[in-house]
Amino acid sequence: MGPLAINEIISENTNLFLAFIIGIGFGFVLEQSGFSSSRKLAGVFYGYDTVVLKVFFTAAITAMLGLLFFSLFGWIDLKLVYINPTYLTSAIVGGIIMGAGFIMGGYCPGTSFCGASIGKLDAFVFIGGLFIGVFIFGIGYNLWDGMYLAKFLGSPKISETLGLTDGVFAFLLIIMALAMFWVAEWAEKKFPREEY
């Protein structure tokens, strides 16, 4: 049955429209959960507020379980689900740059637009920086395309690399996530911050 657009059950335009509705819902929930505050994301790094970590990891696990159960029931063909290809070097370098940006700016790209939508000036500055970064990357592409495209691994799955079935890996990931949440809540007690 699924993915709906690829199997032509719904048209590309309907697909975009659904994405638009889901996007609005996503932005609304982000804003209502307080993600439009830059202190929230910076709090993950300093340990006083780990809501962002918990929310996004819970979302990932929910999506993972949903996809695996849908596949089990024959509702979706996981082979047709797009997986971002992995370029190992640029994934590591990009991760470091993005992480540094998170701590300094207090936003990730999604939450910065969330903050901008309610008029937060620091969010606008963050978006400006985001576009400057995109511009520099595009202008200087010839300088770093070697590194950008280095160590192409295709679209590997961790479960396949480890030789586990998707289900067993999902279970291990759930256990890991719960352990991480427990550490995160411990950190919130250990490094409280009253004033923010």
Binding site: I6, F69, D77, G110, D166, F171, L173, I174, L178
Partner: protein, 207 residues
């Protein structure tokens, strides 16, 4: 109850279930039995040897001949430019991009038409397009193209035109008296590089 415990209480059993069940590896079939029967009855999958010979001689870039016989048989003789996908390996992932595509015209052939038809039927049921079968298989190919029989003198003109085409096509494709030399062509036929089909890219998730 603390939210973390509530979450754990819910997702740990779900994780246990998904770890315990086998993965769903079935491939959904796209055509109903009636639709497939309709296609079989109208013989839409067949391409005549004359059409294939014409495409080979004209070096039609859209043509892709697929030999579904075993590798041994393929190495002994194959049609010019053919690639080998043994019917036993038909569903292997490495061939998915060749069989499921919208650009080339894949023509399966085997000695007769049985194996080629099996390959066509399986790919058709998976919803793949542009897969065809060489009518009559290699056996008929030998009779029709490489050793065409001169029609009786009372035959209509079309028969003679067909014979002339087949004779010249047969000569061009190494048939006639030098039928055995056509082995050389198979040796030079290189396997095309498998290019992954362009998948529809979606906006990546994340935050």
């Amino acid at each position: 109850m603390k939210p973390l415990r509530l979450l754990a209480l819910f997702i740990i059993p779900m994780g246990l279930i998904i770890a315990a069940v086998p993965q769903n590896k079935t491939k959904p079939y796209k055509l109903t039995a009636e639709e497939l029967l309709g296609e079989v009855n109208t013989r839409t999958q067949y391409v005549t040897p004359d059409a294939v010979a014409d495409m080979i001689i004209k070096k039609d870039p859209s043509l892709r001949l697929i030999d579904v016989r075993s590798q041994d048989e393929f190495e002994k003789f194959s049609l010019p430019g053919a690639i080998n996908i043994p019917a036993t390996d038909l569903l292997s992932d490495q061939y998915a991009d060749i069989l499921n595509q919208d650009i080339k015209m894949n023509i399966f052939y085997s000695n007769g038409t049985l194996t080629a038809n099996e390959a066509w039927m399986i790919t058709r049921q998976l919803g793949f397009n542009n897969n065809y079968v060489l009518e009559g298989g290699l056996n008929y190919w030998f009779d029709a193209i490489l050793n065409p029989q001169k029609p009786a003198s009372t035959s209509p003109d079309e028969e003679f035109a067909k014979y002339d085409f087949r004779k010249s096509a047969g000569l061009a494709l190494g048939g006639g008296a030098t039928m055995q030399t056509s082995q050389d062509q198979s040796a030079t036929s290189s396997k095309p590089v498998i290019k992954p089909a362009a998948k529809k890219k979606k906006a990546a998730g994340g935050c």
